[in-house]
């Protein structure tokens, strides 16, 4: 086994951790971003290729990351947008009939700096108490890395969605229904779900309401994405104009943007929800759905008058879903598309399809 160079992880509050350089973290190199932890046991490739992590350095709480390699099939986007990866162990050899390569190769190819050998449990406990913090990882002297961490940016007030959104519109699927998806950092798994029943026109985050309506969609989709929803006023205004015109589904950032569009407020959770095991209660049916989650911001309880709360998180009571029946608009904070995660909530896509089917029939 080739020895790795010693590296350190530092948080903006000066806490440091000992580890070894991995991925594209070169001698003397430094990677910075907002440190968050993800508790999923599997699905590291989907997490790493999820645009919603832009600006963040993701620590995996499960120690062995990379066991079954990587495959194009599991990419959630055209590239990698996160700023760094923190793990306890990167296995030297992966094993799976699906694998096309190893995780570290992907990190190197995508220029993602990573650090391994970290006491990720200590880090998690620290972030749990201190909240998500800017961090830096690098091979240089510990002081330099602490220094870098202190200058690293958090995601507060950042409109990162605008950076990761597609520069040009493109089409996916060939279903009977027509959906316009406003790309704030959309995941492939979501497109795959929509493509089951729709022809999806994926448009840049800057697209206006008129432009969207001119595409004459049966329904409008607001995607997941990174950063602070509070920094997306323009998008919120666009959405405000769209609410009521067509059935509308929002996921994660899309959910937060819909809330803002409806006059609601959002706030930043101490360390967010990042994992595949969050219990969500569907208030209509009373059923519990184990959901995939990935968000640092959430909708403020009682801040939206027009909408009803449809789902809540059983761990901390956070609003997980809202709906405006009259306008045929609804959204969820969690990830019904999974990728990675359980499939319990995937029925939401069918609900969306039905809503579109009825209105499109009834309507035009």
């Amino acid at each position: 086994m080739t020895k790795r160079t010693t590296a350190h992880l530092a948080l903006s509050d000066g806490t440091t951790f000992e580890g070894e350089a991995a991925g594209a973290l070169l001698e003397g190199g430094v990677a910075t971003g907002e440190a968050v932890f993800n508790t999923a046991l599997s699905g590291y490739q989907e997490v790493i290729t999820d645009p919603s992590y832009a600006g963040q350095v993701v620590a995996f709480t499960y120690p062995h990351i990379g066991n079954y390699g990587v495959t194009d099939l599991d990419d959630e986007s055209r590239g990698v947008f996160l700023s760094g990866v923190i793990v306890r162990d990167l296995p030297p050899l992966h094993s799976s009939w699906r694998a096309q390569g190893g995780l570290e190769d992907l990190l190197i190819a995508q220029g993602v700096g990573a650090i391994t050998g970290i006491d990720t449990r200590r880090l998690t406990r620290h972030l749990r108490n201190a909240g998500a913090l800017p961090c830096a990882l690098g091979t240089g002297p510990r002081e330099d890395i602490i220094e870098a961490a202190q200058h690293a940016a958090s995601t507060d007030g950042q409109a990162l969605a605008m950076d990761v959104s597609t520069p040009t519109a493109y089409q996916v699927g060939s279903g009977a229904l027509r959906v316009v998806a406003l790309d704030l950092g959309i995941k492939s798994t979501i497109l795959a779900h929509l493509a089951r029943f729709a022809t999806v026109e994926v448009v840049p985050a800057t697209t206006t309401a008129d432009e969207i309506l001119s595409l004459d969609p049966d329904g409008i989709f607001l995607s997941n994405g990174p950063g602070d929803p509070g920094a997306l006023d323009a998008v919120a205004r666009t959405v405000a104009d769209l609410v009521g015109t067509r059935p509308l589904l929002g996921i994660c950032l899309g959910h937060q943007v819909l809330a803002s569009a409806l006059g609601g407020a959002t706030f930043k959770l101490p360390f967010g929800h990042h994992g595949s095991n969050h219990p969500v209660k569907n208030l209509a049916t009373g059923q519990i759905e184990i959901t995939a989650q990935n968000h640092n911001y959430a909708v403020v309880e009682g801040s939206i008058l027009g909408a009803t709360v449809t789902h809540v998180n059983l761990n901390d009571g956070i609003i997980e879903g809202i709906a405006v029946e009259s306008a045929g608009a609804f959204s969820v904070q969690h990830h019904p598309e999974a990728g990675p995660g359980p499939h319990d909530a995937s029925y939401l896509f069918d609900t969306f399809a039905q809503a579109m089917a009825t209105t499109s029939k009834a309507g035009r």
Binding site: Y62, P63, K281, L314
Partner: protein, 1105 residues
């Protein structure tokens, strides 16, 4: 839906004696369930024949029936108690099968009892493989191609159609008994025939073999509102073809992508829903094709299981506890997770460490059994280890096994492979055996490479590459030698789970030097917490494991604390009874205001339930690991907090051996010096002699000549055995010098093979061979006593064995109170026990074993520790000996405990007779002779309680699974020396209306004494004709067989008779003593109606008697 108020009393069925495939994991599950249901305010009625369990503790349920798990008995219990519901899903296969039988007889309907947890239809669908496969196909899940056969003819037709290799598996069986994989038709015919017999319904499944595929298990839960969650995924390191119970298993699954895992999750929910498990936990097993990912469902168990216990310990999610709540109506979201106390139970645990389970086998105790692993489970116990990485947890598991190994790679693993060429080694790796993983490690250490080993074993490359990390490191360390004592190397080593002992060996330095170097370099263990959520939420349950990281999570404590060392993996000779003692100590000391700290590595047990003690360290029981915890706890003391000491005398030999590895000043109760005195033959002899207590003449030797001389002096027969081993390991009765030579050679070893004791440290001056005069036809007696620091001694119980001395105390039935011994001799034995307690300055428990021959008492051995019989005594008398001992060891006097009411004011007067019977694993090991001897081989025990000895004995036999017949024919074949006494027994059976059949010699003798013998059978041993006896047994015309091995020397003959009895499940008694007891039992049984009694009633009656 909240708690069901329409129910008020619930019958919980336990799993009975510990047998292979059904061990103390059901004590863990059952105890949790009973406690929860009691807390919920239900009247809990428990039926379980196993006295060694915490479950059958009078405090665990409201009405505790330690009665045979038999349909008639259960019916009697139900009629007497009229429970509102039966909960069958916590007592393993036994409880399910019994419930099905009850349902078939219409008992629940007739008496208006509801079956909760899983309805009979659901159980049927899951257990009947045919129905199961149909159901799975219905919902679109794939099952292996197969067909059912009820005859050999049918079987062959199906096999030919599917094509070989073929897997055979009988319906309704436990632990894969009678199952196997046949490469060709010839092997198939044998397996199929065996399987048809093994199945209670005479049905076998003939199935396509998918040996070599990856094997997985998902532990799933469902509530009444149809909410489903996965608690844990488990991946078997050993591919399909090795029973999960015999496989090294790892949690969570390591080599499944999320895409594959989520599909498996969906399938397991679909399976649960289709089978119709309304509430509770189930286990779904899958096979995955490593080349294509094709996924096949193997089976599902609609109940808690060995795997669910493992999953509970692996995640901190108490499956049985939650299952019990769900069974009485609660929904997952209505139950809070007691580890976080904030989040609901309706989530899926996620973990930030790796858990590895490794089984432990007992082949060395079962000569004649091939140590080959297959689809039938053969392990008798298991260890679990937690580490931050797989290599760390694997190495911790290896040293937890207590088989003299310091980790995965050491001298041992090298010597195992030494003889093999590279290609031979790979071939050896291909055959699954208890040693396989060490050979795999050896192969990788030789540099044969992951790919080659994978091709040979089909063990997933990921696991192999992780093991290679260990072996590469080992090579590096050996090369470094003493230069390896640097911070970086030590840190790397410890993070890979290497023990100090292992490193000492590789660096070529003393273990103490490794430790010192680590301390100096600051490479010290840190304890993390098992919290079900990977630290996302704060955890309140101090359930810890050691690893080498940057942060330690042990909370300070301002209270007096006591560490209790558990008993490690179950093995023959050391089982659940010792866990019972440790758990009792913990419960009592907590009640007395101490904070208790449990250390153990056995995932099946109640002691490793995180709420049994104030703190749980799930760690190996080795000197290094225990010392580290002691240090951590001493660091954790704040204010008046103090670590008072360590209890080493309740967990059997395991902690007792550790007494030498820790600060003597910390040992509570009997001092290490006294422990040694009891084990030191020479000094113990002198001690007895000085007090005029007789002992079988004998001596110790370390050489063959020494042994020969002693034998000559004391005269044959002699008993030869090593000191310091439990369960009569390697003990032999030797009748002459040639056999002495043979026996000594096995122990000492010779040029071509190493001695049987090599792994225990061989034979040395301080670990010599003991040679004693063997007392023939002596009555053996066990006495359990407790002595306090003030010198008062409490005699807990005197147990008279049914079988004569020479049959290991753990294998013989015994009665409390004694049945044939006179009061005077009993008094002598009690007096001697008390004197010994004084002489050894015992503080706590003492077990003395006596032999009484011709009215004279002899001391066989004295153990200043908890014995196997402590729980039995407690159940029979109501005096909680283990608890009393724990209190005494922490400073209380018996007088004080008497005032507290824990110890009765005056001696308990038995109103009933309690009989303990051993349960033997022979039905699983066809090649092994069933004759009982001084080497213990039983895996578990049962208890029968009733008004007379006969009734109690009959119940004990029924509970042990060999129900005594009430009419029919008895077949006798007696050794010459037994014929005299045998005649009376035979006459007794005639008077009971039985017809007699006998072999020539026996028949002749009986007839000469005027006892009618209806049928003559060919002389045993006369191979040509011997078939007759076997055929007779096969024919079913015989209901009971009495076969005492003839003559001296190897007690081999008659073996085929006994084998036939096992094969056809005919009760077979191999000692006259047992036969006499059986006659008595059958007599009393015929003249009394079946009566059942609860322990609570029994104890009340005896207290006031």
């Amino acid at each position: 839906m909240p708690r069901r108020d329409d129910l008020s009393s619930i019958l919980v069925i336990g799993s009975g004696p510990i047998v292979i495939g059904q061990a103390c994991e059901f004590d863990y599950s059952g105890t949790q369930a009973c406690r929860v249901l009691t807390q919920e305010g239900y009247r809990v009625i428990l039926a379980n024949s196993n006295p060694a369990t915490i479950m059958t503790d009078p405090a665990t349920a409201d009405a505790t029936y330690v009665e045979p798990l038999d349909v008639d008995v259960l019916t009697a219990i139900i009629e007497r108690e009229r429970p509102d519901a039966i909960l069958p899903t916590l007592g393993g296969q036994t409880a399910l099968n019994l419930t099905m039988e009850l349902a078939r007889r219409g008992v629940p309907e007739a008496l208006g009892v509801e079956i909760i947890g899983a309805r009979p239809e659901a159980i049927e669908t899951a257990e009947d493989r045919d129905k199961f496969k149909q159901a799975m196909t219905e919902i679109g899940l794939i099952v292996p191609r197969s067909g059912f056969a009820h005859s050999l003819e049918e079987a062959v037709v199906i096999a030919r159609e599917i094509g070989f290799p073929i897997m055979v598996r009988p319906s309704y069986i436990l632990g894969g008994q009678g199952t196997g994989i046949a490469p060709d038709e010839q092997a198939f015919l044998r397996l199929a025939a065996e399987g048809l017999v093994a199945s209670p319904v005479g049905e076998i499944l003939v199935e396509r073999s998918i040996a070599g595929w990856k094997e997985y298990e998902l532990e799933v839960m469902r509530d009444s509102a149809d909410n489903c969650v996965v608690i844990c995924s488990i991946e078997n390191l050993d591919p399909m073809g090795v029973h999960t119970g015999d496989s090294i298993t790892v949690a969570p699954a390591q080599t499944l992508s999320d895409v594959e895992y989520q599909e498996m999750r969906d399938d397991s929910f679909a399976c649960l829903r289709r089978v119709g498990v309304e509430t509770g936990g189930s286990n779904v097993q899958f096979a995955v094709n490593p080349w294509t990912g094709e996924r096949i469902v193997i089976e599902m168990n609609p109940r808690v299981s060995r795997s669910s216990a493992l999953a509970s310990k692996a995640t901190g999610f108490p499956i049985a506890k939650i299952a019990a709540r769900l069974a009485v109506g609660y929904r997952l979201d209505e139950i809070t997770n007691d580890i976080t106390m904030a989040t609901p139970a309706s989530f899926e645990p996620t973990i930030d460490y790796v858990v590895t389970k490794v089984p432990r086998w007992a082949f060395e105790k079962l000569p004649g059994a091939e140590p080959h692993l297959g689809t039938r489970m053969q392990s008798v116990g298991e260890v679990m280890a937690i580490g931050r990485t797989f290599p760390e947890s694997l190495q911790k598991a290896m040293r937890s096994l207590e088989q003299g190994r310091t980790g995965l790679v050491d001298r041992d693993e090298e010597s195992l492979a030494a003889g093999f060429s590279d290609s031979e080694l790979l071939i050896a790796c291909d055959q699954a055996t208890p040693d396989r993983l060490f050979l795999v490690a050896a192969a990788l250490r030789r540099g044969l490479g992951v790919e080659a080993v994978h091709q040979a074993t089909l063990i997933d490359r990921w696991f192999l590459s992780q093991i290679e990390i260990i072996t590469d490191a080992a090579e590096e360390f050996v090369a470094l030698g003493a230069d390896g004592l640097t911070r970086d190397t030590l840190r790397q080593a410890k993070r890979l789970g290497f023990s100090d002992a292992q490193l000492a060996e590789m660096f070529g330095v003393a273990e103490t030097e490794v430790f010192a170097a680590r301390e100096a370099a600051g490479v010290t263990v840190t304890y993390k917490t098992v919290d079900t959520c990977a630290a996302e939420f704060e955890a309140f349950t101090p359930y810890h494991f050691g690893t080498y990281e940057e942060e330690d999570e042990i909370r300070p404590s301002g209270r007096p604390r006591v560490i209790i060392l558990g008993s490690g993996p179950n093995r023959i000779g050391q089982g659940i009874e010792f866990d019972y003692c440790c758990v009792h100590a913990s419960m009592t000391l907590r009640a007395a205001g101490f904070e208790t700290i449990m250390i153990n590595c056995n995932p099946e047990t109640v002691s490793t339930d995180y709420d049994t003690s104030d703190r749980l360290y799930f760690e190996p029981l080795t000197g290094e690991d225990v010392r580290a915890i002691i240090a951590a706890e001493q660091r954790a003391s704040e204010g008046d907090g103090e670590l008072l000491g360590v209890i080493v005398s309740l967990g059997g030999q395991t902690p007792l051996k550790l007494a030498h590895e820790i600060d003597p000043g910390l040992i509570l109760g009997t001092s290490p010096a006294s422990i040694d005195l009891a084990e030191d033959r020479k000094r113990f002899n002198d001690l007895l002699a000085a007090r005029g207590m007789a002992q079988p003449p004998g001596g110790t030797a370390t050489t063959f000549d020494g042994a020969k001389k002693i034998a000559a002096d004391i005269g044959y027969p002699v008993l030869v055995r090593p000191s310091y081993v439990l369960g009569g390991r390697a003990m032999e009765i030797v009748y002459d010098e040639p056999n002495l030579t043979r026996a000594m050679t096995t122990l000492l070893g010779d040029d071509d093979h190493e001695g049987a004791l090599a792994r225990e440290g061989g034979v040395t001056e301080d670990r010599p061979i003991l040679i004693d005069r063997f007392l023939e036809e002596a009555i053996e007696v066990d006495v359990d006593a407790v002595r306090d620091a003030s010198g008062e001694v409490l005699i807990g119980g005197v147990m008279e064995h049914v079988e004569e001395a020479g049959v290991h105390s753990g294998d013989s039935a015994c009665a409390l109170p004694p049945q044939t011994l006179g009061d005077d001799i009993v008094l002598t034995l009690e007096r001697w026990a008390a004197e010994l307690a004084d002489a050894l300055d015992v503080v706590g428990l003492l077990n003395v074993q006596f032999a009484v021959k011709d009215g004279e008492a002899y001391v066989i051995e004295a153990n200043p520790r908890a014995s196997r019989t402590v729980p039995f005594v407690a159940k029979a008398t109501g005096v909680p000996l283990a608890a009393v001992a724990a209190r005494v060891m922490t400073g209380s006097t018996l007088a004080q405990l008497r005032d507290e009411g824990m110890v009765p004011r005056d001696r308990v007067r038995p109103t009933h007779v309690s009989v303990k019977e051993a349960v033997l694993p022979f039905s699983r090991f066809p090649g092994v002779d069933t004759i009982l001897g001084p080497e213990m081989r039983s895996t578990g025990e049962v208890m029968g309680v009733d008004r007379t000895f006969g009734l109690a004995f009959a119940k004990s036999q029924m509970a042990a699974g060999s129900r005594l017949p009430s009419t029919g024919a008895v077949f006798l074949s007696l050794a010459d020396r037994d014929k005299g006494a045998g005649a009376e027994v035979a006459r007794a059976f005639v008077e009971l209306g039985f017809a007699l059949m006998a072999t020539m010699g026996t028949a002749g003798y009986l007839r000469d004494n005027g006892i009618p013998v209806e049928k003559l059978v060919a002389k045993v041993g006369d191979e040509a004709l011997a078939a007759d006896a076997v055929e007779l047994i096969a024919s079913g015309d015989v209901q009971l067989v009495i076969n005492t091995p003839r003559g001296h020397g190897p007690r081999a003959d008659g073996a085929h008779i006994r084998a036939a009895c096992i094969e056809h499940a005919i009760p077979c008694l191999t000692t006259l003593a047992a036969a006499r007891a059986a006659a008595q039992g059958i007599g009393d049984w015929a003249s009394h109606p079946l009566e059942v009694i609860t322990l609570q009633e029994l104890h009340a009656a005896q207290a006031t008697a």
